[in-house]
Amino acid sequence: MFLIPLGVYILVLFGYPLYYSVSMSFKNLNQITLINGNANFVGFQNYIQAWSSSIIWRSFLNTIQFTVVSIIMQFVIGLLVALLFNRRFPLNRVLRSLILVPWLIPQIVSGAIFNWMFSSTNGVVNQILLDLHIVSTPVNWLLHPESALIVMMITNIWIGVPFNMVLLYSGLQDIPREIYEAAAIDGARGVRSFFYVTLPNLKVIIGIVLMLGLIYTLKVFDIVMSLTQGGPANMTQLLSSWSYTLSFTNLNFGQGAAVANGLIVISLVFTAIYLWINRKTAD
């Protein structure tokens, strides 16, 4: 009886939209049929059209690049910071919680902040690069696809480091001190103890952090919208933002759903891997 509200909730707000999304993707829902209500079943036409355009492949490659680079950097930086905070020193707690702020503020705010910092005319990043003589003229960060993608990744890494850090830190705290002491007797100290003790003991947590990072990064949407809106010329779209553009800008909800459903499939594959790593949770 206690489960009824949740059951209904899942059916109404997850089950039905998912079913609806699948059914949308097989109909020619566009700006005309949305109004007159004459959307017909068109089979796989939306999938074929949506997944054969040149923009979708750009978005797909962008999504891969954005995801892989973000995750590796978030993880490496997060792990280094976690290792640092795993040591004892004054103000540890205060500083550790301050680092969480980037993760807690709305992503659209982070996007706005980085948009301003990387502004071509008066962004502080250009200012610093000019002062250090790394560049001789201001860089138009957000006007070129390659550099715009870099800014998107930097923003996302900034947001993700705290999350990685907290999870890895709690994993490090769970490793019993005795294991390090025993390893030290066997001659494993410093860097060697990191590779022979720390990493093997963090294996499960590392798997979880990487998979969650992957799934969350596939969802990223706010960062694209607040930095480039997919531009210039759709060159910085991710699958999520491209699905949005198809549906809500081009009013082609059929194709938008076809892209979104592809994204769901990709997420589910990694969700399966995540669940397999984290098998205990469901018991």
Partner: protein
């Protein structure tokens, strides 16, 4: 164990890391306090030469309706999510049924679904149900972030309550509802606060649903207002940055007053 020198080295490193991570926020505040000439001066100063505090009263004056919308939607999301999650979490923790595993698995999976995939469908569904541009619609949409998380975190906590404690409630003749209200809820206070906090932050930070399930300006959360600010290509970066600061205040307050709950929340979201 570690010497004073090593500790100082660690502390300095940690301060550098923090400075690096917090610089964008520092820069946001500095920029908000500059006037237009100072914003576009070259070279830029790293502190506001003549702090323009009135920008905050102006930003608040123009943004307060959006802040109110965000507050109402976020609080609504907290209430709705807890009402659904708490009884469900109690049942999933208390009764070992086959269906428990199925529910937990479904929750873990739906948590991973990209929101844009739901948003496409929700827009048309809400359109048919006349839920676009309404508080109810936004609260329902935003609760999809919170409900799976809340159930999982509350269940993990309730499971850790000794069974005898809950069963003691039954001796007095109380049913499951009374046991939930009288015994489980007070004990789970910290987990409930964590769940509420995260639900609030999820809804407060939501931009995707704010963008998709509203079509007019009648109900506009602060995140949407910021987005339109960026889109308008205005050069009033100081007021935009002031608005960014205003939108970040809840996160800051929650962090200061409830830091231990937030740490618990992040840890639980990854591993039980």
């Amino acid at each position: 164990m570690e010497g004073k020198v090593t500790k100082t080295v660690y502390l300095s490193l940690a301060i550098i890391v923090c400075a690096f991570m917090l610089f964008p926020l520092y820069w946001t505040i500095v920029s908000s306090l500059k006037n237009n000439t100072q914003l576009f001066a070259f070279p830029q100063t790293f502190f506001p030469p003549t702090p323009q505090w009135n920008v905050y009263s102006q930003a608040f004056g123009s943004q307060w309706p959006h802040l109110v919308v965000s507050l109402v939607v976020s609080l609504g999301t907290v209430v709705l999510s807890l009402l659904i999650s708490l009884p469900a979490a109690y049942a999933l923790a208390q009764f070992k049924l086959k269906i428990t595993v199925v529910f937990v698995l479904i929750l873990l999976i739906v948590q991973m679904i990209p929101s844009i995939s739901l948003a496409n469908a929700l827009f048309l569904i809400f359109h048919n149900l006349h839920l676009l541009n309404s508080y109810q619609g936004l609260i329902l949409a935003d609760s999809t972030y919170a409900v799976p998380f809340d159930v999982l975190i509350l269940r993990a906590f309730i499971e850790s309550i000794p069974r005898e404690l809950i069963e003691a409630g039954f001796v007095d003749g109380a049913g499951n509802w009374l046991a939930l209200i009288r015994i489980v809820t007070p004990i789970s206070k910290s987990a409930i606060i964590t769940a509420a906090l995260f639900s609030f932050l999820f809804a407060w930070g939501d931009f995707l649903y704010a963008l998709t399930v509203t079509t007019t300006n009648s109900i506009q959360p602060i995140t949407l207002s910021i987005y339109q600010y960026i889109g308008s290509h205005s050069t009033e970066w100081n007021s935009l940055m002031a608005t960014a600061v205003l939108a970040s205040i809840p996160a800051g307050l929650l962090l200061i007053f409830t830091q231990r709950y937030i740490n618990a929340g992040i840890s639980t979201s990854g591993i039980k």
